[in-house]
């Protein structure tokens, strides 16, 4: 049936005036198609005219005439063409289903959506900002997740790659020793095409200005070939570069390092770089995007594994030591070989090694294989990374959900206001589908613009994150560029958000219940349509905010508990500088002299209170070392003949420098020399565990099989983690158990940051080529231990506050709208003698009832969610009472303000005006 486009003449106009020019209207009625679209266009024109007429009727009439002429010319042509086409095809003229028709409809919808949005600039601004923040947060966090978890590492045929670990009961996925690697290669040739190992190496490179410390990798000759990596320049390392220790001074530069250090010099291949004073020939550059075999750790350069000991100045030979487990193993399955066959091969090699090397290959030690595609960083780390990523994405997802709920709420309010207009359109025959499409176009445009803004926000946020000076013990490299995956994610999220917050209001406002809307509502009837859904959205927002804030509160409390933990050392400003006295340049005695001389020079610096040397600083996440302890009368763990106990080698000043109290006996002394009686200090937990009968001082224990006398007992301190239970510890004198690696710990009454530089300067003054591998303040060193909790608190806390802000805006908007709709009721109540206070209480009360409901739901949901967080918390129970008390109060106060402000405004309206208005 054909319908003629009609202006909504029976629509109630706030200021009807004399209406749009009749002649122009007749022109439009003549040329517009007798379809939904025609009716919609005419309706929109009249609506726009009325809006303009309220400001300036003459200008509105002029505008209307110009629009009518423009549309008349355009549609006059099209109508004639369509009529001819439709008649020829026999298609119904009411709905143009052709491709061009759909495009035309889309164009029209977009045009009118843009018009409606520009007419409500404040709504549009709030909507775009809310969505921008929500989508930006999601995009930024997804970029992180993408870089850390999802992004392809660039390996060829990754499904054939297998990661190889050495696992024990305590440490399930550890690195390999080089001899174990060689045995694994030998015992698994039938299954693996090739096996490679790589290890990290802190490398000192000479520069024009001095030296720079680089994070490099030593790799076997198969490394690049096995992973399927081709050189960007020159060639990569091959088997010919992996023959004899110290015999292959060649280097491959990482693409990023080549770009930043050498400005992507195209002639780099063939040039030489000096590493630890020795010239290395640059043979190639890795391809862009390749970041090594371990995700997140991008080496600046790659050297043959045969050169690592020399480069790091090791005194021993790590290539021959089964105790030196520093190698990451990766293997490529032969064509047709299965993972099960690989596991069987690994079991065979394990059995062989247990038989041949029972001392290092204890019964609980085995080769462990994992599909490379299943591993993110290391399965032990992945156990935390994956839930953390899931938690972060959930948090930002909830923030976006709140933003969507806000907008859905606003749109529902707008839809209620447009109900009569839509009813008129339905009454003149517009199809509901068409109207829904029009309304959804508006929301999808909003979401699109919000998405674009979100990408900008995400980019800026990620730049800030990359620029942040995090106290990491090693450089983490994540490519956070917005690749296709991230952009597709953002587009999908934007579209989803547009549909999510637009669909319900669109469906509700186009509900074909036309008659009541067409009746005059001014008589006072009609409860707010869509109110229940809006209320539900507010309840949901408050509930989600409470959940997020409780999460943030728990993280903050956990962080606070961690901060209050006393590590038992390093309470005063202290500089920490790690040096290596390489074995190829220093004899043991020379190294000791160097360390002593440096200590004396540092001790003479202004403000320095105490200086000591320790080979392995406590709470270093990268390094732990244990000594085999045997004590008469104390049985070792099942299957072993010793106790593994953490230990460090120190000089006679270290306890004072780190402020570790000696509680019994004596400390290390200068007389504890190599040919003196072997002595050791133990801590209180050691005594409690291994010498419980008392009288520890003077007792003899066996360390690595040798008898050693305990000469003193120190107080307990943290060794591996801040939250750990007391752990036994052993100190040996540096003159009896030498290590070329030494941390100089210098306590000062001044600035530790300054002292760090001074210590390096003194070290280099003594030996310009001395290897400085790490330098930091004690504060920064300890901050690593809190980093996870600080990031958790910062991320969850930040997003929770954002969620609360968005929820407050939503509540404010909902209450504002609700009270604005009740302005007449307020007028009635005031005219009947109600006082302003009671009206404010009434209006605020309705908002607060929603908040109370949402808060109660939120607390219950938070209690459930908190159980999931329990593994990530320290020193605070999941159902932490202060958090669960404070958060609802904070939310309640914020929500009260969000309700009270609009309520107060409406309660102060002029009742005369409210009663007079229809």
């Amino acid at each position: 049936m054909s319908r003629q486009a009609q202006p909504p003449e029976d629509e109630h106009r706030a200021d009807p005036g004399s209406g749009p020019p009749r002649l122009a209207t007749r022109l439009l009625e003549g040329v517009l198609p007798p379809t939904d679209r025609g009716a919609a266009i005419l309706g929109d024109l009249h609506e726009e005219f009325e809006a303009r007429a309220r400001k300036d009727e003459r200008a509105a009439r002029r505008w209307y005439v110009v629009e009518a002429i423009g549309i008349g010319v355009r549609y006059g042509r099209r109508t004639r063409r369509n009529r001819r086409g439709a008649a020829a095809l026999g298609a119904p003229q009411g709905h143009d289903r052709s491709w061009e028709g759909m495009v035309d409809t889309l164009f029209t919808n977009v045009r009118y959506a843009v018009r409606r949005l520009t007419r409500s600039p404040m709504f549009t601004l709030v909507a775009v900002l809310s969505l921008g923040i929500g989508i930006g947060a999601n995009t930024a966090m997804f970029s992180l997740v993408n870089a850390a978890i999802i992004r392809d590492m660039g390996f060829a045929e990754p499904e054939r790659l297998v990661d190889v670990y050495e696992g024990t009961d305590d440490f399930t996925h550890g690195t390999l020793s080089y001899p174990d690697y060689l045995d694994f290669v030998e015992g698994s040739r039938d299954v693996f095409e090739a096996v490679t190992v790589s290890r990290f190496a802190v490398v000192q490179a000479d520069t024009e200005d001095g030296v720079e410390t680089l994070f490099g990798a030593g790799v076997t000759g198969e490394f690049f070939d096995l992973l399927g990596i081709d050189a960007a320049r020159g060639r990569l390392l091959g088997e010919e570069d992996d023959v004899a220790p110290g015999a292959h001074p060649v280097v491959v530069l990482g693409h990023d390092y080549w770009s930043s250090r050498y400005a992507a010099d195209p002639d780099i291949v063939g040039r030489q770089v000096r590493l630890r004073g020795r010239p290395y020939a640059v043979i190639g550059v890795t391809p862009e995007g390749f970041t090594g075999s371990v995700r997140g750790f991008a080496p600046a350069l790659y050297v043959p594994v045969m050169m690592v000991d020399e480069l790091m100045g090791s005194t021993g030979n790590s290539l021959e030591s089964r105790g030196s487990q520093s190698y990451f193993g990766t293997a490529r399955l032969r064509d047709g070989a299965t993972f099960a066959q690989a596991e069987a091969a690994a079991e065979r090699v394990t059995a062989t090694l247990r038989e041949r090397h029972p001392r290092t290959w204890t019964p609980d030690k085995e080769f462990v294989l994992e599909r490379t595609e299943d591993v993110i960083m290391n399965p032990m780390i992945d156990r935390f990374v994956v839930p953390a990523a899931g938690m972060i994405m959930t948090v930002v997802g909830l923030v976006l959900l709140i933003a969507c709920a806000n907008l859905a709420s606003f749109l529902l309010a707008r839809a209620a206001d447009r109900r009569k207009e839509i009813a008129v359109r339905l009454a003149v025959g517009a199809r509901r589908r068409t109207l829904v499409a029009q309304l959804l176009t508006e929301t999808v445009i909003l979401a699109g613009v919000g998405g674009a803004l979100g990408i900008v926000i995400a980019t800026q946020g990620l730049d800030l994150l990359l620029a942040a000076d995090l106290p990491l013990p090693f450089p983490i490299t994540l490519d956070l560029s917005l690749d296709r995956t991230v952009l597709a994610f953002s587009a999908l999220v934007s579209l989803g958000a547009g549909v999510l917050f637009g669909l319900a209001p669109a469906l509700q406002s186009t509900n074909p219940d036309v008659a009541p809307a067409l009746r005059d509502e001014s008589a006072g009837g009609g409860r707010a349509r869509g109110a229940s859904l809006r209320n539900a959205l507010v309840v949901g927002q408050v509930a989600v905010s409470v959940v997020l804030l409780v999460g943030a509160g728990l993280f903050l409390r956990s962080l606070d508990a961690s901060r209050r933990l006393d590590p038992g050392f390093g309470g005063t400003p202290t500089a920490l500088v790690q040096l290596v006295t390489p074995g190829d340049r220093y004899t043991r005695e020379e190294a000791l002299v160097y360390q002593r001389t440096l200590r004396e020079r540092v001790a003479a610096l202004p403000g320095v209170q105490s200086v000591g040397v320790i080979d392995n600083i406590h709470l270093d996440p990268l390094n732990t070392q244990t000594v085999r302890v045997q004590v008469d009368g104390i049985d070792p763990p099942p299957g072993q003949d010793f106790h593994g106990v953490d230990y460090a080698v120190i000089d006679e000043h270290l306890l004072e420098a780190l402020d570790i109290p000696l509680v019994e006996g004596r400390g290390i002394e200068a007389l504890d020399v190599a040919d003196g009686e072997p002595v050791a200090l133990v801590n209180q937990e050691f005594v409690h565990r291994f010498l419980p009968e008392g009288g520890a001082v003077g007792r003899e224990v066996r360390l690595n099989g040798d008898p050693v006398r305990v000469v003193g007992v120190t107080a307990d301190h943290k060794v591996r983690g801040l939250g750990e239970a007391p752990r036994p510890f052993v100190y040996r004198p540096i003159r009896q158990s030498f290590s070329p690696y030494g941390w100089v710990a210098a306590r000062t009454g001044g600035e530790a940051e300054r002292l760090v530089l001074d210590v390096i300067a003194e070290a280099r003054a003594l030996d310009p080529d001395i290897m400085v591998t790490q330098a930091k303040t004690m504060r920064r060193h300890l901050a690593v231990m809190l980093l996870g909790r600080e990031l958790g608190a910062m991320v969850v806390g930040g997003f929770a506050l954002l969620a609360l802000l968005l929820a407050s805006i939503g509540l404010y908007g909902t209450v504002s709208y609700a009270v604005a709709r009740r302005a007449r009721e307020v007028g009635i109540r005031l005219s009947l003698g109600a006082d302003v206070g009671s009206v404010i209480r009434m209006l605020t009360g309705s908002g607060m009832r929603l908040v109370a409901t949402g808060g109660a739901i939120g607390v219950l949901a938070a209690a459930a969610a908190a159980q999931l967080l329990s593994r990530l918390l320290y020193g605070v129970p999941p159902l932490d009472l202060p958090t669960f008390l404070v958060v609802p109060v904070v939310v309640g106060l914020v929500a009260f303000m969000a309700s009270w402000v609009p309520a107060r405004r409406v309660a102060r309206i002029d009742p005369v005006g409210a009663l007079r208005s229809e």
């Binding site: 509502e521 006072g524 009837g525 009740r822 005031l830 005219s831 003698g833 006082d835 005369v912």
Partner: protein
């Protein structure tokens, strides 16, 4: 206040409103005296200030200058709290657009003034009033399910439920068809007659005005007595 309705005096009352960029002078020296228990109709063209007159008498609005006395009290001199209490206890309102609270049922609307005055035992009275306006079967209905006439009858009952001694009605039949308007007028007459309530009705309906004791006209911002009954005495004299 008196047992019967209060007297009302307007003395040289001026009132204007600002709309957009211009000032609309509504009352320009209006003066009148309405006796206690008197029933007065106020006639006049749209926008002449009839409703403003009611708002001034009820204390919802204040004059720019001049005096409004109700029961001898200068309304303009009362603090807002006092004016609120005055309205709550002594004034009943009937509006042209009914102004029922849409979220409350008919009975809840009726009980609203009683809640405000804190009268706990008014439900029976409300029910009797509802019966009097012939809507006792619609007590649980929301206003949007009522016709215009029914809504106005509810509004009438609500205006009287707390026993006001001053009833102000602003075009109570203005939004009703003739028959329904007649019914409402008859009810108003029936409920107020012999109660001693002072009644001021703003109306366009001559038939309603004819039922009143006296008729006033708002003419160029002043109140003048209907030509049948003479000019309003100049109270300033």
């Amino acid at each position: 206040m008196n047992e019967t309705g209060p007297s009302i005096e307007l003395i040289d009352v001026h009132k204007s409103y600002r709309e957009a960029d211009r000032t609309h002078r509504v009352l320009t020296g209006a003066s009148v005296e309405i006796r206690s228990g008197e029933r007065v109709a106020v006639l006049g063209p749209s926008g002449s200030g009839k409703s403003t007159l009611l708002n001034l008498v009820s204390g919802i609005d204040l004059p720019d200058s001049g005096t409004v006395r109700v029961g001898g009290a200068d309304i303009g001199a009362l603090p807002e709290r006092e004016r609120t209490l005055f309205r709550r206890r002594h004034v009943g309102f009937v509006f042209q657009f009914f102004n029922l609270v849409p979220t409350l049922t008919v009975m809840e609307n009726l009980l609203l003034p009683l809640e405000l005055t804190g009268s706990p035992d008014g439900r029976a009275h409300a029910e009797s009033l509802l019966e009097a306006v012939r809507l006792s079967d619609r007590a649980g209905t929301f206003p949007d399910r009522l016709s215009g006439g029914e809504q106005q009858r509810v509004a009438l009952a609500r205006a009287l439920v707390h026993g006001p001694d001053l009833l102000l009605a602003d075009e109570p039949t203005g939004n009703l068809d003739e028959d329904t308007g007649e019914l409402v007028v008859a009810l108003l007459d029936e409920l107020v007659r012999d109660s001693g309530t002072t009644l001021v009705v703003v109306t366009h309906a001559r038939s309603l005005a004819d039922r009143m004791d006296r008729t006033l006209h708002v003419d160029h911002g002043k109140l003048v007595e209907d030509s049948l009954t003479g000019t309003v005495p100049d109270l300033r004299a």
